[in-house]
């Protein structure tokens, strides 16, 4: 295989440069780069101990951290309905889902830590606004149907974005995404099923479902990020095979999936320009309000302040608990050692 050969060549050159007593640091770096490029080109995985360009590492830390932050901030809009869920079955499903999101946050922080970041530091960046989370979680959950709309549309958009990440060039991230995507598709089906029950229920329930879909549709389309000609990181991420498809491509794929699902739900999508295009074989849809998107990203969405305040408060109010656990562990350590020696 071409890659195996490339690996061998790079390793030989790298070893040779070492034996030369560091005369050719540049040659070594070049060999590392060649190995990295060959690995990416062959669709193989970069692993934590492999050499990687600094910019690749930085991009991944940023993306994985923001992904982790989105999971934990994303617990809030749904947790808002746990205490009011209308049946015990739905309550159990929702609790399990929010629990899964905390778990996804944990895997993703672990994946980021393989790149040399620390969870505490990343959380600090979230709490001080230096790192972002998905803009979608700055919208409020106003009715029970919002829980269904989040499952169907928001998780649906997340899956469309994340399935290609299961083949991302960075191994730990790709493996985390395989686990995350399995659980997310389960949540998405549950959200769809929740909306279906409402849509087929009483008149009030149907109206509640329609209202939720009307409010969550456009923000879900914004989850794919800015249009391709304005996406700052896209080209490099695609070259590194962190990203596999462009924002607009994924957005179009998502719309194509949702339209027939909305029909079978008996609900409409709030876009008068939405129609099938025989020629392209896709749905055409209306213009996205990018001004709103930018405002939400800047911190001016409906819940930005509330979300970050709650996260910070949970962290600050929990400080004494974390300190107690650390103090207890530190005290236990010498005791255990003494016991072992005795």
């Amino acid at each position: 295989m071409a890659t195996a050969a490339a690996h061998r060549t790079a390793r030989t050159e790298k070893d040779a440069s070492r034996r030369d007593g560091g005369v050719s640091d540049d040659a070594a770096l070049e060999a590392y780069e060649r190995l990295f490029d060959a690995t990416v080109a062959a669709d193989e995985r970069i692993e934590p101990r492999d050499w990687m360009p600094d910019a690749y590492r930085a991009t991944l830390v940023r993306q994985i951290a923001q992904h982790a932050h989105s999971e934990i901030i994303g617990m809030q809009p749904e947790a808002n309905w746990i205490t009011r869920a209308p049946s015990l079955r739905r309550k159990a499903i929702l609790m399990a889902k929010v629990q899964d999101e905390a778990g996804h946050g944990l895997y993703l922080y672990s994946a980021a830590e393989t790149l040399g970041a620390s969870r505490d530091d990343l959380l600090d960046k979230l709490h001080t606004g230096r790192q972002k989370y998905s803009s979608i979680f700055n919208y409020p959950t106003l009715t029970w149907a919002d829980v269904g709309a989040i499952g169907w549309l928001v998780d649906g958009a997340a899956i469309t974005n994340q399935v290609p990440l299961c083949r991302c060039s960075y191994g730990p991230y790709a493996r985390a995404m395989i686990r995350v995507c399995k659980e997310e598709s389960f949540h998405q089906r549950q959200g769809y099923e929740l909306l279906l029950a409402l849509s087929q229920g009483t008149e009030e329930q149907h109206a509640m479902a329609q209202d939720a879909v009307d409010r969550w549709w456009w923000p879900s389309l914004m989850m794919f990020g800015p249009p391709d000609d304005e996406s700052a990181h896209s080209a490099q991420s695609m070259a590194w095979k962190i990203k596999r498809h462009s924002n607009d491509e994924l957005r179009r794929r998502f719309v194509d999936i949702c339209v027939p699902q909305a029909e079978s739900l008996g609900l409409t999508l709030p876009d008068p320009d939405l129609k099938w295009n025989e020629e392209s074989g896709h749905y055409d849809f209306g213009a996205i309000d990018w001004t709103e998107f930018k405002e939400v990203l800047k911190g001016n969405g409906p819940c930005n302040e509330q979300r970050i305040t709650q996260r910070r408060r949970a962290h600050d109010e929990g400080a004494w608990v974390r300190e107690a656990a650390a103090a207890h562990a530190a005290r236990r350590l010498p005791r255990t050692t003494e016991a072992e020696q005795a």
Binding site: I72, M75, A85, P86, L88, A92, G318, A327
Partner: protein, 258 residues
Amino acid sequence: MTTSATTTAHTHGGAAAHSDTAADTRTAALALGDDALVLSHRLGEWMGHAPVLEEEVALANIALDLLGQARILLSMAGDEDELAYLREERAFRNVQLVEQPNGDFAHTIARQLYFSTYQHLLYAQLAAGTGPFAGLAAKAVKEVAYHRDHAEQWTLRLGDGTDVSHERMQRACTALWRFTKEMFHPVTGLELDRADLESAWLESVREILGQAGLSVPEGARAGAWRAGAGREGLHTEPFGPMLAEMQHLHRSHPGASW
């Protein structure tokens, strides 16, 4: 992950010949089911507010286990949603301990320590018997053993952590002490060695508090209400608002299915 035993069959049909026994079983199922339902709800209030991510997962996991138990028990007594959402405060049969507000993390842990120790001993006894709760208890006892371990570990960490955590944990243990007698009040339909249950509970709690460097509270264990008040539908004030929140949506759409 949670192993909710929702599929366990409940056989309350066709028991007309033993109507007293059936009614007694329903009474007991309601008491145990309400305990689990109410505590699960309180733990659910933590979601998104826990001190570390691992505790978001752990508290949710315990809440889910309890909700699973509640659903089986309430189904033994009638329709789970009707019972959860359409009864008023005076008809709930849970002990007052589980309805106490979360307070700080120490308060939540003290409540968990007292309740999960009791529930673990209770289910172990029920699982060893042949009564109507033996099947459920056999399954749930494994979940509850985990809840008890979680509460004990945190009691040790907080009691034997920093000065601040020690003081908070002591305050929490003392504040909830007056709700602990009620768990051992007789419940119709529950065949138990109550004296053994209570002495095992006291011994275990004393042991853990001692290990954590905490003192065993000295006050009465029954509080101002006589012991057993919650089982008779006499609750504390924070319970009403909790139910108002829990039941609001369901009550707003009479007869709807979800």
